[in-house]
Protein backbone atom coordinates (compact mmCIF):
# COMPACT_ATOMS: atom_id res chain seq x y z
CA UNK A 1 0.00 0.00 0.00
CA UNK A 2 1.51 3.31 -1.03
CA UNK A 3 1.34 6.02 1.55
CA UNK A 4 0.82 9.60 0.51
CA UNK A 5 3.03 11.97 2.37
CA UNK A 6 3.79 15.64 1.97
CA UNK A 7 7.45 15.92 2.87
CA UNK A 8 7.94 19.67 2.39
CA UNK A 9 5.67 22.52 3.53
CA UNK A 10 4.33 25.41 1.50
CA UNK A 11 6.97 28.16 1.09
CA UNK A 12 9.75 25.83 2.19
CA UNK A 13 13.07 26.26 0.36
CA UNK A 14 14.03 23.25 -1.74
CA UNK A 15 17.06 22.34 -3.85
CA UNK A 16 17.05 20.36 -7.13
CA UNK A 17 16.30 16.72 -6.40
CA UNK A 18 14.58 17.34 -3.04
CA UNK A 19 11.58 15.06 -2.45
CA UNK A 20 8.49 17.23 -1.95
CA UNK A 21 5.88 14.50 -1.69
CA UNK A 22 5.48 10.74 -1.87
CA UNK A 23 2.56 8.84 -3.31
CA UNK A 24 0.47 9.40 -6.40
CA UNK A 25 -2.05 11.81 -4.90
CA UNK A 26 0.10 14.90 -5.47
CA UNK A 27 0.82 15.95 -9.04
CA UNK A 28 4.00 17.64 -10.31
CA UNK A 29 3.39 21.14 -11.66
CA UNK A 30 5.86 23.77 -12.83
CA UNK A 31 9.33 23.29 -11.42
CA UNK A 32 8.63 19.68 -10.33
CA UNK A 33 8.92 16.23 -11.84
CA UNK A 34 7.85 12.72 -10.95
CA UNK A 35 10.51 10.14 -10.06
CA UNK A 36 8.96 6.73 -9.36
CA UNK A 37 6.31 7.48 -6.73
CA UNK A 38 7.87 10.75 -5.58
CA UNK A 39 7.33 14.36 -6.64
CA UNK A 40 10.72 16.08 -6.69
CA UNK A 41 11.93 19.62 -7.22
CA UNK A 42 13.71 20.61 -10.43
CA UNK A 43 14.83 23.93 -9.01
CA UNK A 44 16.28 25.94 -6.14
CA UNK A 45 13.10 27.68 -5.02
CA UNK A 46 10.01 27.81 -2.83
CA UNK A 47 7.29 25.16 -2.68
CA UNK A 48 3.73 26.07 -3.67
CA UNK A 49 0.72 23.83 -3.22
CA UNK A 50 -2.58 24.47 -4.96
CA UNK A 51 -5.25 21.78 -4.76
CA UNK A 52 -3.24 18.69 -5.63
CA UNK A 53 -0.62 20.46 -7.74
CA UNK A 54 2.82 21.01 -6.32
CA UNK A 55 5.04 23.58 -7.94
CA UNK A 56 8.37 25.23 -7.18
CA UNK A 57 8.82 28.93 -7.79
CA UNK A 58 12.47 29.53 -8.75
CA UNK A 59 14.55 32.17 -6.99
CA UNK A 60 16.57 32.84 -10.15
CA UNK A 61 16.36 32.05 -13.83
CA UNK A 62 15.63 33.49 -17.23
CA UNK A 63 12.21 34.42 -18.63
CA UNK A 64 10.44 31.70 -20.60
CA UNK A 65 7.77 33.31 -22.78
CA UNK A 66 4.17 32.27 -22.19
CA UNK A 67 1.10 33.13 -24.25
CA UNK A 68 -1.02 35.79 -22.60
CA UNK A 69 1.79 37.42 -20.65
CA UNK A 70 2.01 41.21 -20.73
CA UNK A 71 5.66 42.13 -21.24
CA UNK A 72 7.96 45.05 -21.96
CA UNK A 73 9.94 44.60 -25.16
CA UNK A 74 12.62 46.62 -26.95
CA UNK A 75 12.76 46.84 -30.75
CA UNK A 76 16.02 45.32 -32.01
CA UNK A 77 15.48 45.12 -35.72
CA UNK A 78 12.81 45.55 -38.35
CA UNK A 79 11.97 44.20 -41.78
CA UNK A 80 9.37 45.40 -44.26
CA UNK A 81 6.39 43.81 -42.50
CA UNK A 82 7.50 42.94 -38.99
CA UNK A 83 9.66 43.93 -36.05
CA UNK A 84 12.06 41.76 -34.03
CA UNK A 85 12.13 42.50 -30.32
CA UNK A 86 14.25 41.70 -27.32
CA UNK A 87 12.00 40.34 -24.58
CA UNK A 88 14.68 39.67 -21.93
CA UNK A 89 14.65 35.98 -22.75
CA UNK A 90 16.87 33.50 -24.62
CA UNK A 91 14.22 33.84 -27.33
CA UNK A 92 13.52 36.83 -29.55
CA UNK A 93 9.98 37.81 -30.45
CA UNK A 94 8.28 38.91 -33.66
CA UNK A 95 5.59 41.59 -33.95
CA UNK A 96 3.78 41.40 -37.28
CA UNK A 97 2.54 44.62 -38.89
CA UNK A 98 -1.02 43.31 -38.82
CA UNK A 99 -0.86 42.82 -35.05
CA UNK A 100 0.58 46.25 -34.41
CA UNK A 101 -1.33 48.66 -36.60
CA UNK A 102 -5.10 48.70 -37.11
CA UNK A 103 -5.22 50.61 -40.36
CA UNK A 104 -4.10 49.51 -43.84
CA UNK A 105 -0.42 50.23 -44.49
CA UNK A 106 1.03 50.32 -47.98
CA UNK A 107 4.45 48.77 -47.42
CA UNK A 108 5.72 49.91 -50.81
CA UNK A 109 5.29 53.49 -49.68
CA UNK A 110 5.79 53.27 -45.89
CA UNK A 111 8.80 52.37 -43.83
CA UNK A 112 7.32 50.77 -40.72
CA UNK A 113 9.88 52.50 -38.52
CA UNK A 114 7.42 55.38 -38.41
CA UNK A 115 5.39 53.27 -36.00
CA UNK A 116 8.13 51.64 -33.95
CA UNK A 117 11.80 52.25 -34.53
CA UNK A 118 14.90 50.44 -33.27
CA UNK A 119 15.34 51.19 -29.58
CA UNK A 120 11.66 51.91 -28.90
CA UNK A 121 10.23 50.36 -25.75
CA UNK A 122 6.73 48.92 -25.89
CA UNK A 123 4.32 47.19 -23.52
CA UNK A 124 2.89 44.30 -25.50
CA UNK A 125 1.11 40.98 -25.09
CA UNK A 126 2.41 37.56 -26.12
CA UNK A 127 -0.04 36.21 -28.65
CA UNK A 128 1.40 32.80 -29.13
CA UNK A 129 4.50 30.65 -28.36
CA UNK A 130 5.26 27.66 -30.56
CA UNK A 131 6.78 24.39 -29.34
CA UNK A 132 10.23 25.47 -30.46
CA UNK A 133 9.60 28.75 -28.61
CA UNK A 134 9.06 31.10 -31.58
CA UNK A 135 7.23 34.03 -30.02
CA UNK A 136 4.53 36.17 -31.65
CA UNK A 137 3.49 39.45 -30.06
CA UNK A 138 0.42 41.64 -30.45
CA UNK A 139 -0.52 45.22 -29.65
CA UNK A 140 -4.16 44.25 -29.78
CA UNK A 141 -4.73 44.74 -26.06
CA UNK A 142 -6.02 47.64 -24.00
CA UNK A 143 -2.77 47.88 -22.05
CA UNK A 144 -0.43 47.77 -25.06
CA UNK A 145 1.35 50.99 -25.94
CA UNK A 146 4.70 52.59 -26.65
CA UNK A 147 6.53 53.68 -23.48
CA UNK A 148 8.19 57.01 -24.16
CA UNK A 149 10.98 58.46 -22.07
CA UNK A 150 11.82 57.17 -18.63
CA UNK A 151 14.18 54.23 -18.12
CA UNK A 152 14.01 50.46 -17.94
CA UNK A 153 15.49 48.06 -15.45
CA UNK A 154 15.46 44.28 -15.18
CA UNK A 155 14.65 42.00 -12.28
CA UNK A 156 14.47 38.21 -11.98
CA UNK A 157 11.19 37.28 -13.72
CA UNK A 158 10.07 34.89 -10.99
CA UNK A 159 10.02 37.83 -8.54
CA UNK A 160 7.55 39.90 -10.55
CA UNK A 161 4.51 38.64 -8.59
CA UNK A 162 6.18 39.82 -5.40
CA UNK A 163 6.91 43.21 -6.91
CA UNK A 164 3.30 43.63 -7.98
CA UNK A 165 1.96 42.36 -4.66
CA UNK A 166 -1.51 41.12 -3.76
CA UNK A 167 -3.94 42.91 -6.14
CA UNK A 168 -1.18 45.35 -7.04
CA UNK A 169 -0.66 46.58 -3.48
CA UNK A 170 3.15 46.61 -3.50
CA UNK A 171 3.61 48.37 -6.82
CA UNK A 172 0.88 50.90 -5.97
CA UNK A 173 2.75 51.64 -2.74
CA UNK A 174 5.90 52.52 -4.69
CA UNK A 175 3.97 54.53 -7.28
CA UNK A 176 2.21 56.59 -4.61
CA UNK A 177 5.25 57.26 -2.49
CA UNK A 178 7.56 58.17 -5.37
CA UNK A 179 5.08 59.76 -7.77
CA UNK A 180 6.59 57.74 -10.63
CA UNK A 181 4.85 56.06 -13.52
CA UNK A 182 5.76 52.39 -13.29
CA UNK A 183 4.92 49.55 -15.68
CA UNK A 184 5.97 45.99 -14.80
CA UNK A 185 6.32 43.28 -17.45
CA UNK A 186 5.95 39.57 -16.65
CA UNK A 187 9.36 39.16 -18.30
CA UNK A 188 11.06 40.99 -15.45
CA UNK A 189 11.49 44.30 -17.31
CA UNK A 190 10.25 47.36 -15.39
CA UNK A 191 9.70 50.80 -16.94
CA UNK A 192 9.93 53.88 -14.71
CA UNK A 193 9.30 57.52 -15.40
CA UNK A 194 9.28 60.39 -12.99
CA UNK A 195 11.42 62.67 -10.92
CA UNK A 196 12.26 60.00 -8.34
CA UNK A 197 13.12 57.23 -10.81
CA UNK A 198 16.34 56.37 -8.99
CA UNK A 199 14.63 56.06 -5.65
CA UNK A 200 11.85 53.90 -7.05
CA UNK A 201 14.52 51.72 -8.67
CA UNK A 202 16.17 51.26 -5.26
CA UNK A 203 12.87 50.09 -3.76
CA UNK A 204 12.39 47.65 -6.63
CA UNK A 205 15.89 46.20 -6.18
CA UNK A 206 15.21 45.81 -2.47
CA UNK A 207 12.06 43.82 -3.21
CA UNK A 208 13.97 41.65 -5.67
CA UNK A 209 16.69 40.89 -3.13
CA UNK A 210 14.25 40.06 -0.32
CA UNK A 211 11.34 38.58 -2.28
CA UNK A 212 11.54 35.27 -0.43
CA UNK A 213 11.25 36.81 3.06
CA UNK A 214 8.30 37.71 5.29
CA UNK A 215 7.33 41.20 6.38
CA UNK A 216 8.66 42.77 3.20
CA UNK A 217 5.75 45.17 2.70
CA UNK A 218 6.39 46.82 6.07
CA UNK A 219 10.10 47.16 5.40
CA UNK A 220 9.49 48.68 1.97
CA UNK A 221 6.95 51.14 3.39
CA UNK A 222 9.42 52.19 6.07
CA UNK A 223 12.21 52.61 3.50
CA UNK A 224 10.04 54.70 1.18
CA UNK A 225 8.79 56.92 3.97
CA UNK A 226 12.28 57.50 5.27
CA UNK A 227 13.65 58.31 1.85
CA UNK A 228 10.97 60.64 0.63
CA UNK A 229 11.46 62.99 3.59
Amino acid sequence: MEQTELVKKEKELVVPGDVIARGLEYLPGAGCYRYENEVRSKLLGLVRLKDRFLSVVPLAGVYIPKAGDGIIAVVEDLQSTFWILDINSPYDAILQLGEAVGEFVDITKTDISVYYDIGDVIYTKILNVSRSKSVQLTMNDYRAKKLVGGRIMKITPSKVPRLIGKEGSMIELIKNKTGCLIVVGQNGVVWLKGECEGFAAKAILMIEAEAHTEGLTDRVTAMLEKGVE
Partner: protein
Amino acid sequence: MGGKKVGAPENLIIGNKRLDDRTPEDFRPMEMSVGILKHAIGSATFNFGNTRALAGVFGPRAFHPKFLQDPQKAVLRLKYAMAPFSTLDRSRPGHSRRSMEISKVATDALASVVFVEDYPRTGIDVFVEILQADASTRCAGINAASLALADAGVPMRNLITSCSVGKIDGILVLDIGGLEDNFGEVDMAVSMIADQDKFVHLQMDGIVTKEEWGQLLTMAREGCGEIYKKMAAALRERYATTMEGV
Protein backbone atom coordinates in the same frame (compact mmCIF):
# COMPACT_ATOMS: atom_id res chain seq x y z
CA MET B 1 58.46 -2.15 -10.76
CA GLY B 2 61.01 0.52 -11.39
CA GLY B 3 62.27 2.74 -8.63
CA LYS B 4 60.53 5.63 -6.93
CA LYS B 5 60.02 8.79 -8.98
CA VAL B 6 62.47 11.64 -8.58
CA GLY B 7 61.41 13.92 -5.76
CA ALA B 8 59.02 11.39 -4.27
CA PRO B 9 58.67 11.56 -0.49
CA GLU B 10 59.85 8.51 1.44
CA ASN B 11 56.32 7.63 2.46
CA LEU B 12 52.99 9.07 1.45
CA ILE B 13 51.25 7.44 4.41
CA ILE B 14 52.64 6.29 7.73
CA GLY B 15 50.37 4.19 9.93
CA ASN B 16 47.06 5.95 9.56
CA LYS B 17 48.39 9.44 8.80
CA ARG B 18 48.83 10.97 5.39
CA LEU B 19 51.26 13.79 4.69
CA ASP B 20 48.72 16.41 5.77
CA ASP B 21 47.71 14.45 8.89
CA ARG B 22 44.47 13.14 7.35
CA THR B 23 43.25 9.57 7.80
CA PRO B 24 42.57 7.57 4.63
CA GLU B 25 38.84 8.38 4.82
CA ASP B 26 39.12 12.11 5.47
CA PHE B 27 38.37 14.88 3.04
CA ARG B 28 40.47 18.00 2.95
CA PRO B 29 38.51 20.92 4.43
CA MET B 30 35.75 21.78 2.00
CA GLU B 31 34.49 25.31 1.46
CA MET B 32 31.85 26.50 -0.93
CA SER B 33 29.84 29.61 -1.60
CA VAL B 34 27.04 30.36 -4.01
CA GLY B 35 26.05 33.50 -5.92
CA ILE B 36 29.37 35.32 -5.80
CA LEU B 37 29.65 36.72 -9.35
CA LYS B 38 27.62 39.77 -10.26
CA HIS B 39 27.27 39.24 -14.00
CA ALA B 40 26.76 35.48 -14.20
CA ILE B 41 23.19 34.24 -13.86
CA GLY B 42 24.47 31.65 -11.40
CA SER B 43 27.89 31.17 -9.81
CA ALA B 44 29.72 29.26 -7.11
CA THR B 45 33.11 28.39 -5.72
CA PHE B 46 34.17 25.01 -4.38
CA ASN B 47 37.40 24.20 -2.56
CA PHE B 48 39.00 20.90 -1.60
CA GLY B 49 41.75 22.19 0.71
CA ASN B 50 44.08 24.19 -1.55
CA THR B 51 42.30 23.26 -4.75
CA ARG B 52 39.96 26.09 -5.67
CA ALA B 53 37.45 26.13 -8.47
CA LEU B 54 35.14 28.90 -9.62
CA ALA B 55 32.13 28.36 -11.89
CA GLY B 56 29.90 30.84 -13.69
CA VAL B 57 26.72 29.99 -15.60
CA PHE B 58 25.45 32.10 -18.48
CA GLY B 59 22.15 31.03 -19.89
CA PRO B 60 19.92 29.63 -21.06
CA ARG B 61 20.65 32.16 -23.77
CA ALA B 62 20.62 32.44 -27.53
CA PHE B 63 23.02 29.87 -28.87
CA HIS B 64 25.74 30.56 -31.45
CA PRO B 65 26.85 29.16 -33.89
CA LYS B 66 23.33 28.71 -35.19
CA PHE B 67 24.00 25.52 -37.11
CA LEU B 68 24.80 23.74 -33.84
CA GLN B 69 21.48 24.77 -32.24
CA ASP B 70 19.16 21.93 -31.34
CA PRO B 71 15.52 22.74 -32.13
CA GLN B 72 14.34 20.42 -29.39
CA LYS B 73 16.64 21.14 -26.52
CA ALA B 74 19.29 23.34 -24.97
CA VAL B 75 22.98 22.65 -25.63
CA LEU B 76 25.06 22.58 -22.47
CA ARG B 77 28.67 23.67 -22.92
CA LEU B 78 31.11 23.46 -20.04
CA LYS B 79 34.55 24.93 -20.54
CA TYR B 80 37.21 23.93 -18.05
CA ALA B 81 40.32 26.08 -17.85
CA MET B 82 43.21 26.47 -15.46
CA ALA B 83 44.31 29.98 -14.60
CA PRO B 84 48.01 30.59 -15.40
CA PHE B 85 48.66 31.30 -11.72
CA SER B 86 46.89 28.16 -10.50
CA THR B 87 49.99 25.98 -10.60
CA LEU B 88 53.53 26.39 -9.27
CA ASP B 89 54.96 26.68 -12.77
CA ARG B 90 52.85 28.95 -14.96
CA SER B 91 50.37 26.91 -16.95
CA ARG B 92 49.80 28.23 -20.44
CA PRO B 93 46.32 29.69 -20.83
CA GLY B 94 44.05 28.47 -23.63
CA HIS B 95 43.07 25.03 -24.85
CA SER B 96 45.05 21.91 -24.21
CA ARG B 97 44.14 18.29 -24.85
CA ARG B 98 43.68 17.82 -21.12
CA SER B 99 41.34 20.80 -20.73
CA MET B 100 39.29 19.71 -23.75
CA GLU B 101 38.93 16.21 -22.33
CA ILE B 102 37.90 17.46 -18.91
CA SER B 103 35.47 19.91 -20.52
CA LYS B 104 33.87 17.05 -22.41
CA VAL B 105 33.50 14.61 -19.50
CA ALA B 106 32.22 17.33 -17.19
CA THR B 107 29.70 18.52 -19.79
CA ASP B 108 28.42 14.97 -20.24
CA ALA B 109 28.17 14.47 -16.46
CA LEU B 110 26.10 17.60 -15.92
CA ALA B 111 24.02 17.28 -19.09
CA SER B 112 22.75 13.93 -17.76
CA VAL B 113 20.72 15.75 -15.09
CA VAL B 114 19.80 19.09 -16.69
CA PHE B 115 16.28 19.29 -18.16
CA VAL B 116 17.58 20.44 -21.53
CA GLU B 117 14.21 19.76 -23.19
CA ASP B 118 12.76 22.75 -21.31
CA TYR B 119 14.80 25.23 -23.38
CA PRO B 120 14.86 24.39 -27.09
CA ARG B 121 17.31 26.26 -29.37
CA THR B 122 19.25 27.78 -26.49
CA GLY B 123 22.69 27.30 -25.08
CA ILE B 124 23.72 27.04 -21.44
CA ASP B 125 27.35 28.06 -20.98
CA VAL B 126 29.21 27.00 -17.85
CA PHE B 127 32.71 28.34 -17.34
CA VAL B 128 34.89 26.57 -14.79
CA GLU B 129 38.11 28.29 -13.86
CA ILE B 130 40.63 26.59 -11.60
CA LEU B 131 42.14 29.33 -9.46
CA GLN B 132 44.49 27.10 -7.49
CA ALA B 133 45.41 23.53 -8.38
CA ASP B 134 46.34 20.92 -5.77
CA ALA B 135 44.91 17.76 -7.40
CA SER B 136 41.24 16.80 -7.88
CA THR B 137 40.66 19.97 -9.87
CA ARG B 138 38.05 18.41 -12.15
CA CYS B 139 36.12 17.21 -9.11
CA ALA B 140 36.13 20.65 -7.53
CA GLY B 141 35.16 22.12 -10.90
CA ILE B 142 32.20 19.79 -11.36
CA ASN B 143 30.96 20.51 -7.84
CA ALA B 144 31.24 24.25 -8.44
CA ALA B 145 29.43 23.90 -11.76
CA SER B 146 26.63 21.89 -10.15
CA LEU B 147 26.09 24.57 -7.50
CA ALA B 148 26.26 27.34 -10.10
CA LEU B 149 23.62 25.68 -12.28
CA ALA B 150 21.27 25.38 -9.31
CA ASP B 151 21.98 29.03 -8.42
CA ALA B 152 21.14 30.03 -12.00
CA GLY B 153 17.68 28.46 -11.79
CA VAL B 154 18.52 25.85 -14.44
CA PRO B 155 16.15 22.93 -13.83
CA MET B 156 17.95 19.72 -12.86
CA ARG B 157 16.89 16.25 -11.75
CA ASN B 158 19.39 16.45 -8.94
CA LEU B 159 22.78 17.85 -8.00
CA ILE B 160 25.94 16.18 -9.30
CA THR B 161 28.64 15.54 -6.70
CA SER B 162 32.22 14.68 -7.48
CA CYS B 163 35.22 13.45 -5.54
CA SER B 164 38.47 11.58 -6.04
CA VAL B 165 39.67 8.31 -4.54
CA GLY B 166 42.90 6.41 -5.05
CA LYS B 167 45.70 4.27 -3.71
CA ILE B 168 48.87 5.55 -2.09
CA ASP B 169 51.53 3.23 -0.69
CA GLY B 170 49.05 0.38 -1.12
CA ILE B 171 46.35 2.04 1.03
CA LEU B 172 43.02 3.13 -0.47
CA VAL B 173 42.31 6.79 0.26
CA LEU B 174 39.65 9.44 -0.27
CA ASP B 175 40.30 12.87 -1.78
CA ILE B 176 43.67 12.78 -3.46
CA GLY B 177 45.85 15.77 -2.60
CA GLY B 178 48.83 17.30 -4.44
CA LEU B 179 51.78 14.99 -3.78
CA GLU B 180 49.47 11.97 -3.54
CA ASP B 181 48.43 12.65 -7.12
CA ASN B 182 52.02 12.98 -8.36
CA PHE B 183 53.51 10.01 -6.55
CA GLY B 184 50.56 7.72 -5.72
CA GLU B 185 49.66 4.50 -7.52
CA VAL B 186 46.01 5.07 -8.41
CA ASP B 187 44.00 8.22 -8.93
CA MET B 188 40.29 8.00 -9.73
CA ALA B 189 37.83 10.85 -10.29
CA VAL B 190 34.17 10.04 -9.86
CA SER B 191 30.90 11.98 -10.23
CA MET B 192 27.50 10.77 -9.08
CA ILE B 193 23.88 11.84 -9.15
CA ALA B 194 23.39 12.98 -5.57
CA ASP B 195 21.13 10.52 -3.80
CA GLN B 196 21.02 7.80 -6.41
CA ASP B 197 23.55 5.08 -6.93
CA LYS B 198 24.36 6.34 -10.42
CA PHE B 199 27.77 7.26 -11.75
CA VAL B 200 27.85 9.90 -14.48
CA HIS B 201 31.60 10.25 -14.75
CA LEU B 202 34.51 7.99 -13.89
CA GLN B 203 38.16 8.24 -14.86
CA MET B 204 41.01 6.22 -13.43
CA ASP B 205 44.79 6.16 -13.69
CA GLY B 206 46.53 3.08 -12.33
CA ILE B 207 45.96 -0.60 -11.62
CA VAL B 208 43.68 -2.12 -8.97
CA THR B 209 42.50 -5.60 -8.07
CA LYS B 210 38.82 -6.48 -8.39
CA GLU B 211 38.40 -6.25 -4.64
CA GLU B 212 40.11 -2.86 -4.44
CA TRP B 213 37.86 -1.64 -7.26
CA GLY B 214 34.76 -2.48 -5.22
CA GLN B 215 36.22 -0.76 -2.17
CA LEU B 216 37.08 2.36 -4.15
CA LEU B 217 33.55 2.61 -5.51
CA THR B 218 32.13 2.28 -2.01
CA MET B 219 34.49 4.95 -0.75
CA ALA B 220 33.48 7.22 -3.63
CA ARG B 221 29.77 6.68 -2.93
CA GLU B 222 30.18 7.64 0.71
CA GLY B 223 32.37 10.61 -0.19
CA CYS B 224 29.84 11.91 -2.71
CA GLY B 225 27.09 11.49 -0.14
CA GLU B 226 28.99 13.66 2.31
CA ILE B 227 29.61 16.32 -0.32
CA TYR B 228 25.93 16.36 -1.28
CA LYS B 229 24.85 17.28 2.27
CA LYS B 230 27.27 20.21 2.30
CA MET B 231 26.23 21.40 -1.17
CA ALA B 232 22.52 21.32 -0.32
CA ALA B 233 23.26 23.29 2.86
CA ALA B 234 25.27 25.87 0.89
CA LEU B 235 22.36 26.39 -1.52
CA ARG B 236 19.90 26.84 1.34
CA GLU B 237 22.34 29.22 3.03
CA ARG B 238 22.23 31.45 -0.05
CA TYR B 239 18.67 32.39 0.80
CA ALA B 240 18.75 31.99 4.55
CA THR B 241 16.60 34.64 6.11
CA THR B 242 18.23 36.64 8.80
CA MET B 243 15.60 38.65 10.57
CA GLU B 244 17.92 40.50 12.96
CA GLY B 245 17.74 44.23 12.62
CA VAL B 246 14.39 44.04 10.81
